[in-house]
């Protein structure tokens, strides 16, 4: 025990260099765990966004592309698909439900999605959770809108309020459908998915605001007001994509093939789970690069510790000599130095964890607002414990180097050192 208190006092005596060492280890550990956290959290956030949907159907492009624009509202559709094709597959004998999706308009930076009431009945996220209303209900009239939780919170909207949809997806648009405002009929509970950042309106509503528009522009002189638009046929001619739920999952591949082989229109049906995996495969290169870099940062941190310890060794030869004189064996010296490095890496890891959680708490609202990524603050995962274990094991291994040198010194120097 006395050797422990001596070691502690020795560390305290060198508190400035030791402090710097701790900070560099803590920072590198926090970075390593932070990268790992971000990776797993973004994966689970993506994976939680869509569940229970067997197929996603859109215009032919890439599976990842289709998944990103239809479900995650990232990027844009390459093409639309015709309402007739949608009708054909919605009535398919193996199909239980479909959710049509029509994108392209926005409201103050939030995407506006045209859909049907089936969206609120059949859409599932995070396992089997259905969409729930915080206030109000699904839209029933053409000019009604259901807001995602974040849209309502950020813009301070309440039930019954009127909102104007803008043409295109920009944050500021000059083309506003201000002649046909929508009334907020419902606000959804937060889901932690892109649903929170979406304004939902009926497909007929999308049609209605575009009745007097031709080729993306309002026809001059032709104004059809909100009431008159209702008289028109508001069946859409095209939608962006649709989600499919099947009666039996066994039929998934068969229906997928039927859709992909559809001769009347080039359609593409994808399995969302498979497309998500393809996305991970694509991202894993970047993820691994990030992980390797943060691993290297940890290595640099530990190398810094090694340098400081080796440099400090010369100054501590007298200390070692005194320890020897009061009865410490050379092996004690080795244990002391190696133990010091283990203690430092343990403390550094602990400090790093603290730093990680502090940062998570701080940046969580920002990341959630800016990127829609919900970071949950959980205890470290098994993988993270393994990482921490590796860091500390390397700390001990590295400590053996100055430890061995001190051991050799203490054998050779005895009490007489000539510095």
């Amino acid at each position: 025990m006395p050797i422990l208190s001596l070691a502690l006092k020795s560390l305290l005596n060198r508190r400035f260099t030791v402090g710097l060492m701790l900070i560099s280890i803590a920072l590198s550990v926090a970075l390593l765990l932070g990268v790992e956290r971000l990776r797993t959290e973004s994966r689970s956030s993506f994976a939680n966004t869509i569940s229970g949907t067997d197929l996603v159907v859109g215009a032919r492009s890439g599976a990842i592309n289709l998944l990103l624009y239809s479900v995650f509202r990232i990027g844009d559709a390459t093409n639309n698909i015709s309402w007739k094709s949608y009708q054909a597959f919605a009535a398919h004998r193996l199909v239980e439900w479909t959710i049509p999706i029509s994108l392209g308009d926005s409201h103050r930076g939030y995407r506006v999605m045209g859909t049907s009431g089936d969206y609120f009945r059949h859409y599932r996220y995070a396992g089997t959770r259905p969409l729930a209303f915080r206030q109000g209900q699904a839209f029933e009239q053409v000019y009604e809108a259901v807001l995602g939780a974040e849209v309502a919170d950020k813009l301070g909207y309440r039930l019954g309020q009127e909102i104007v949809v803008a043409h295109g997806a920009g944050k500021t648009s000059f083309n506003r459908h201000d002649d046909k405002p929508f009334t907020v009929s419902g606000i959804l509970k937060p889901t932690g998915t892109p649903v929170d950042r979406t304004v939902h309106i009926p497909l007929a509503g999308i049609e209605a605001i575009h009745v007097d528009w031709v080729q993306g522009r309002q026809v001059p002189g032709v104004r059809i007001d909100a009431e008159a638009a209702l008289e028109k046929d508001l069946t859409p001619k095209a939608i962006t994509a649709f989600l499919v739920g099947l009666k039996s999952k066994i039929a998934t591949f068969r229906v997928q093939r039927e859709i992909n082989d559809y001769r009347r229109e080039p359609l593409q049906a994808i399995l969302p789970g498979v497309a998500l995996q393809q996305l991970w495969d694509l991202m894993s290169v970047a993820e691994n690069a990030l992980l390797i870099i943060s691993g290297l940062v940890v290595a640099v941190g530990l190398a810094g510790m090694l340098t400081v310890m080796l440099a400090g060794l010369n100054e501590r030869r007298r200390e070692m000599a005194i320890l020897r004189s009061v009865g410490a064996r050379p092996l004690h010296i080795l244990t002391l130095i190696t133990g010091e490095s283990l203690a430092l890496s343990l403390l550094g890891s602990g400090l790093g964890l603290f730093l990680l959680y502090a940062t998570l708490l701080l940046v969580r609202p920002v990341i959630e607002a800016r990127f829609g990524l919900h970071l949950s603050i959980d205890l470290p995962s098994l993988r993270e414990y393994i990482m921490l274990g590796l860091v500390n094991a390397s700390g001990v291994l590295i400590g053996l180097i100055p430890g061995y040198r001190a051991y050799r010194y203490s054998l050779a120097d005895g009490m007489n050192i000539r510095i």
């Binding site: 990027g75 229109e265 399995l271 995996q277 694509l282």
Partner: protein
């Protein structure tokens, strides 16, 4: 957070989309019949596995090249024999797949679409595809399993039976969700 997923593809698609807009317009593209061709890569086969309740469906889709080593119709008795043997092997799912015995799976349906073995005997040349055409073999198997919960993995013996098969891209739908994975000679077990 606009992430351009795959730049090259994105550009190609944009060009394709623009071309489409200019010539026919979005909707005119629909309602016209069009020809389409599936991707075809020698050495690589596709496997679709779906498990729900007590039903297990497996579909194997492979270029004929992997199975018999040529994609034209048989030209001599030797090739004829190779094809007959391959067809016979493909009709025996028990040899193609190894399922855990405890699952108690029984083969219910075997369907084989093997264009080369189905071509009528000499004299009817009308069905003979041009030599450069690709040929695909499709096999469909359905099992009914007494205790499907025991069905944890499937081992694929395709790589031993038909060594020209290098990789199998498998898509799996199981109670655990949808997944995709690549099987090779070394990694030939599919976890469900």
């Amino acid at each position: 957070m606009p992430i351009p997923p795959i730049p090259i593809q994105g550009i190609a698609l944009t060009i394709a989309a623009l071309a489409m807009l200019q010539t026919t317009g979005n909707l005119a593209a629909a309602e016209q019949e069009h020809e389409q061709y599936a991707a075809h890569m020698h050495g690589e086969a596709h496997l679709l596995v779906a498990l729900e309740g007590d039903l297990l469906e497996i579909e194997l889709d492979s270029p004929a090249m992997n199975i018999v080593g040529f994609e034209h119709n048989p030209r001599d008795p030797g090739q004829e024999k190779i094809i007959q043997q391959a067809a016979a092997q493909l009709r025996q799912p028990d040899r193609l797949f190894t399922l855990p015995a405890s699952a108690g799976c029984v083969v219910e349906v075997v369907e084989l679409h093997f264009p080369q073995s189905e071509t009528p005997a000499a004299g009817d040349a009308g069905e003979d595809p041009p030599d450069e055409a690709h040929q695909d073999i499709e096999a469909h198997y359905r099992y009914r399993c007494a205790t499907a919960a025991q069905l944890k993995q499937i081992t694929l013996n395709l790589f031993n039976l038909f060594p020209a098969t290098e990789a199998v891209e498998a898509q799996v739908i199981s109670p655990g969700g949808q997944r995709q994975l690549e099987l090779t000679k070394q990694r030939n077990t599919l976890e469900l």
